[in-house]
Every structure is written in C-alpha cells, then in structure tokens.
C-alpha cells in the first residue's frame, strides 16, 4: 500500500521535474520579452522548430530505456534528407521519395541492431561507426554538395502557417504529437514496452524471464532509425535542399532531450512525454535566447547547465525513492 503510493509519487515527480523546468524557462523569457515570446506566431515557430529533435527523441527514448544509445541518428537524418532530395530530383513522386527516406533510416537502424546483437559490440561503438558510415554515404549520394530538388509541396509539411488555416500548427507538429501519443502507448501499454523496460533494467534477468532480448533490441534500433528517417525527410521539407552536412551533432541534442525528460543512460527509465518536454525545453531556450539577443555562448552554457541539473535532480529522486 505504502509502496504503491510511493511509486505513484515517484512517477508524478518524474514528470513534474521536466515540466517545472519547462515552465521556468517559459516564464523567464515571458518576463524578459513580454508580448513577443508568448505571441501565437512565436509559439507556432517554436513548435515547428521542435519537430526534428522531437521525432528523433521519440525513437531515442526506446533505445535509452532499453539501456542502449544511438549516436548515428544525426547522420541518419542527413542521409534520409539526401535520399529524399536525390529521388525527387530523379522524378520520383513526393510520397515515394518520403517513404524511401524513412525506410533508409529504418534500414540503417536495423543494421545498428544487427551489429549490436550479432557481433555483441556495445551500442556506443556500433553507432559511433554507423554515424560515420551514414554521414559518408550521405556525402557520396549528394556528390559532396547540397542537393537541389523540387520540393513537390513537401515544404507545406513544415510551414508555420499551414494551408488549411484550421490546422493552426504545421502538419509536422501534428505528426510529432500523434506519433508521440502512439509511441507513449507502445512503451507504456504493450508487451513490447514492458520488454524494453525489462531489458534496460536488467538484461540478464530479462533473458531468464524468457524475453527474446536480441529480437527486441533489433526492433528498438530499427524503430529509432525509422524515426530518424522521418525526421530527415522533414528536415528536407524544411530546408527544401538535401544537405549531407545537416544535423551534425544533432544526436547530442536528441540524447539531451531524452535525458532532460527523465531518461537514464543506465537504462530502465524514461518516458515519451518527458522526452518531448525536453525537446520543447531546448527549443524554447534557443528561441528565447535569440529573442532577447543573448549571445550564442551563453545559450550553449545554459543548455549544458540544464542537462547536468536535470540529471542531478534525477539522481536525488532515485535516492529518495530507494
């Protein structure tokens, strides 16, 4: 009885932390830049800016909950944006090119999973390798230049003022929210989600309980790749060029979003909602710093500080509940 209450309290606290941090950042800039920061236009802008990192963070949450890490997502975003652009240039239809962009992400993610489970190499090393491979592939396909391609209406996906005005937010934002809801159900309400948590908490025990760890891991990394692929096609929609150098270091933003949202790199904890809040927090911070004219170095120091504080709070919470 007391235990379940404590566990519930823990869950509430787990989400309360990132929520409070987000509220704090929003409140701070609302005071510093009144009537600008909270304007509808700015909120729409921030929401659109969150889509790429947010989508990456959904996939990354599964990976981190399972006790792994994926450093290749930034490169996968670039690869997928280049693939989409090249195919559009070759005359493919928009849905075809987008589908291919998403699938190349999924295929590379599956490759990550295969290498991790078959060769029994730690995810950090495998994905460090595929990070370079995917980046190199993107540059090769793009012939070391950005790829100019007809946007074929794709830019509408990331338009801040969407065409049917009743959408209010850009289609990309709705896609992010819908997929986040679906992923939250997958992680929280299905057997696959339970297995993901079990593997992250204690892989040996999970194996003893009869969970097919290898198969689950393969699915998890492929899923992460699919989300990165989708993020890459939207990156193309946003830039209207396929850029092999885009999203350099984005994997760190994505990991930071998950960690701020309560994900632990030791595995076994994390939530989709938390990760999305983390992604929004970083987007609001960057936007607020620009709005108030804060120099870049201050912004970088702030983000770094927030990551450490978020993890420190997480540690304290764990100690309190144990």
């Amino acid at each position: 009885m007391a235990e379940t209450q404590q566990a519930r309290l823990g869950r509430v606290l787990e989400l309360l932390g990132p929520f409070l941090a987000l509220a704090l950042v929003v409140a701070l800039f609302a005071v510093l830049a009144p009537d600008r920061f909270l304007s509808a236009y700015n909120l729409k802008t921030v929401a659109t800016q969150t889509v790429i990192v947010g989508l990456g963070a959904i996939g990354m949450t599964f990976v981190i909950v399972s006790g792994g890490i994926d450093l290749s997502v930034g490169s996968l975003i670039a690869l997928s944006s280049v693939v989409t652009a090249v195919l559009l240039r070759e005359g493919w239809s928009a849905p075809g090119a987008v589908g291919a962009g998403i699938l190349i992400g999924g295929a590379m993610g599956a490759l990550n999973g295969l290498l991790i489970t078959r060769l029994k190499i730690v995810p950090f090393v495998v994905t460090l390798g595929t990070m370079g491979i995917a980046r190199g592939l993107a540059k090769y396909l793009a012939e070391e230049q950005k790829v100019d391609a007809p946007a074929a209406g794709l830019s509408e996906l990331m338009a801040k003022s969407p065409d049917p005005a009743w959408l209010v937010l850009s289609p990309g934002v709705w896609l992010l929210l819908l997929l986040a809801a679906a992923a939250a159900l997958l992680l929280g309400r299905t057997v696959f989600g339970v297995h993901t948590f079990a593997i992250g908490s204690n892989e040996a025990t999970a194996r003893l309980c009869g969970i097919r760890v290898e198969r689950s891991k393969l699915t998890i990394y492929a899923l992460c790749g699919l989300f990165a692929g989708l993020a890459g096609t939207l990156q193309f929609a946003r830039l209207t060029v396929g850029d092999p150098t885009t999203a350099l270091g984005k994997e760190l933003d994505i990991i930071a979003a998950v960690v701020i949202g309560g994900g632990s790199l030791n595995g076994g904890s994390g939530s989709i909602l938390g990760s999305i809040i983390g992604a929004f927090l970083m987007a609001f911070l960057a936007n607020g710093c620009t709005l108030t004219g804060v120099p870049n170095y201050v912004q970088e120091i702030l983000v770094g500080g927030i990551i450490i504080v978020a993890v420190a709070v997480d540690r304290l919470r764990h100690r309190a509940t144990e």
Partner: protein, 343 residues
C-alpha cells in the same frame, strides 16, 4: 591599381564623416550612403531594431561585419542585434535564427545566407510579416529581397589577374589553386581571374586550374605541395581565398621558394599580412566586410524610411601590396581596428 587605392580612400571618407557632405561629387553614387546620417531627425519613439545574421560568429571576417553594423547602428540610432547560428555552417540553425527574429518582431533583417535556397522560405516569411530583408555577402535565389550588398567577386578575380600580370611582365606559367566545388563566391573569383588573364595577358600560360584546395588549410597545404612538385617551373600563383592562400604560402616556404614565385591571394589574416611585409606574398585582394555590415544596415533603414534602394550594392575590393600596405586606407582593410565598435 591607383584607382583601387582611391576607392579605399573613399570608403574611409564615407565611413568617417558621419554628418557632412552627403555624397561628394567624385564618388560614384552609393545608394546606401544617402540616407545615412542626414535624413529626417523625426526618430520614432521606440528605438528601431535591426537583426544582423552572419554565417558564423567566430571568424575574423564576421567580426568586421559586426563592427560595421554597429557603426551604422550608432550613427543612425537603431539597435543592432547580432546573432549567428549556434552551430556554424548549419543551414537549419540559421533558419531558426531568422524565424525567431521574425517572431521577435524586429524592424528589419540583414542576412548573410549560408545557402542560396534553404534560406529562401524564412526570408519570404519575413517579407510577409512586412520585415524587409537585406542580403549581404552571398546571394539568395529570390527576387523579393530588398537589396544585395556584397563584394563583386568577379571583379576581385580580375584585379588579382591584373596584379599578377603586372608582376610577371605579362608572360610566364601560372597556377590557379581553386577553393572548393560549389562555393559560388570563390568560383566567381576564379572565373574573373581566368577571363582577365585570357583577355589581357595572352602570353601568360595557365598550366593548372583544375585543382581544389578544399575547405581547410590542411587540405589546401597538401594540394599546394603536390602542385609545386608537378609544376616546378611555375612563375605565378593565384589563390581565391584565405585558406588556399595560406596553404600555398606554407608550401612555398617549405620548398624555399617563397618570394621567388609570385603569389597573389584573397582575404587577409595576421599571417598573410606578415608574409606581405616580408615579400613572400605579392598581392592580396581584400574585401570590405566592415562596409558590408555598415551598408547592409543603412540600406535596411533606407527601406524602412520608404526610400528607394538599389537592388545590387557593390562594397568594392582593394589590392594590398608590400608598397601600399602602410597606407592608412589599406591598413584599415588589412588589419582593421574593430575595438572602437565592438565592446
């Protein structure tokens, strides 16, 4: 040559005289200057804000642009907000900065786009929100921009060709070390150089013009070494930017041929200025980033005041040599004192 010096002298004059003489008679009409200091004193109640967005913030070139923008801002009583992409050379980061400034409701945006296509959508957004966008340094593939304020790179290359032709007495073997495929500004410099050599110096033979130095000094250095081995009898060399010039200079120094082979480069840095003084470098074509920042802001303000602005404003180039490098106008370009404008 002397015309180049005259022009730089004029820049300085235009820069230093904030109040008087709105456009002396010899100066080619500089549209950006007109609204400068004179104009109506009827300043709006709130200080107007102009966002200036460079490609990056750490490079020396952009510091000069910043200083120029600040100067214009102080003279005209507007607030300059300086902000580049956090991750330099990342298109998406720069798009975000532009979007945020639109949301912030700045009065005008001065932008040096990282990409001629990717920055078009946010620039259009800005115009839709009635925020004029002045493009500096590199162009955007879009007619809706208020103005394009930048170096005429083709002319810069032509000036380099004239200097090298003069140094070689109109004959000899010349190597062009290109910068990078797909870099519009340097490709124009290379084209300007090659066309001018072909037109004015028929006795100069271009022995190599298909080698690229690449993005870093390191890669330019390696390519230079290889070029010097395969073209031992080279008389003159042109390099279209700072990294290729420095890489070639280092390779010449290693081969103990610095000073003997005539080298004309582009852009300035402390090391290049030193080499110019030692006679290891025989000419540097210089852009005027300070003026780019200054005119960018002034043009944006002219637009806000409802004045006519020209679609293309040339910020000019100068050629620094060992002989003229001590002159104040050239000093200003080679190693500008920015501390006055950057706190």
């Amino acid at each position: 040559m002397s015309r180049a010096i005259l022009m730089t002298a004029m820049w300085c004059l235009a820069g230093c005289s904030s109040g008087g003489g709105g456009g002396g008679e010899p100066a080619a009409p500089q549209p950006g200057d007109a609204p400068a200091a004179a104009a109506e004193p009827a300043a709006p109640a709130a200080k107007r804000k102009i966002a200036v967005i460079p490609k990056g913030t750490t490079h020396e070139f952009w510091k000069s642009v910043h200083a120029g923008a600040n100067k214009a801002g102080q003279e005209l009583g507007v607030e300059i907000i300086w902000k580049g992409p956090v991750r330099e050379d990342d298109r998406d980061e720069q798009v975000k900065v532009v979007e945020s400034f639109i949301a912030a409701g700045v009065d005008a945006i001065v932008l040096a786009p990282l990409d001629d296509t990717a920055l078009v959508p946010p620039a259009k957004d800005a115009t839709r929100e009635k925020i004029p966008v002045v493009i500096i340094d590199s162009d955007l593939q879009w007619d809706g921009r208020t103005s394009f304020v930048a170096t005429d790179n083709h002319q810069g290359g032509a000036k380099a060709a004239e200097r090298l032709g003069e140094l070689l007495g109109g004959k000899g073997k010349v190597v062009v070390l290109r910068y990078q495929e797909g870099s519009a500004s340097t490709m124009k410099r290379e084209a300007g150089f090659l066309e001018t050599v072909a037109a004015k110096f028929p006795d100069i033979e271009i022995v190599s013009s298909n080698q690229y130095g690449g993005a870093t000094t390191e890669s330019a250095y390696k390519t230079s070494e290889n070029l010097l081995v395969s073209h031992e009898d080279v008389d003159g060399i042109f390099c279209p930017n700072e990294s290729t010039t420095f890489g070639m200079l280092r390779a010449l120094q290693d081969a103990k041929r610095a000073g003997e082979v005539k080298l004309v480069g582009f852009d300035s840095s402390a090391k290049l200025v030193e080499a110019l003084g030692k006679g290891e470098l025989h000419g540097l074509v210089l852009q005027n980033p300070f003026r780019m920042g200054e005119l960018g802001v002034k043009t944006a303000l002219a637009k806000l005041d409802g004045k006519a602005v020209e679609a293309r404003i040339d910020t000019g180039v100068g050629v620094a040599t060992k002989e003229n490098m001590a002159e104040p106008a050239m000093r200003e370009l080679l190693s500008p004192d920015l501390s006055k404008w950057l706190k």
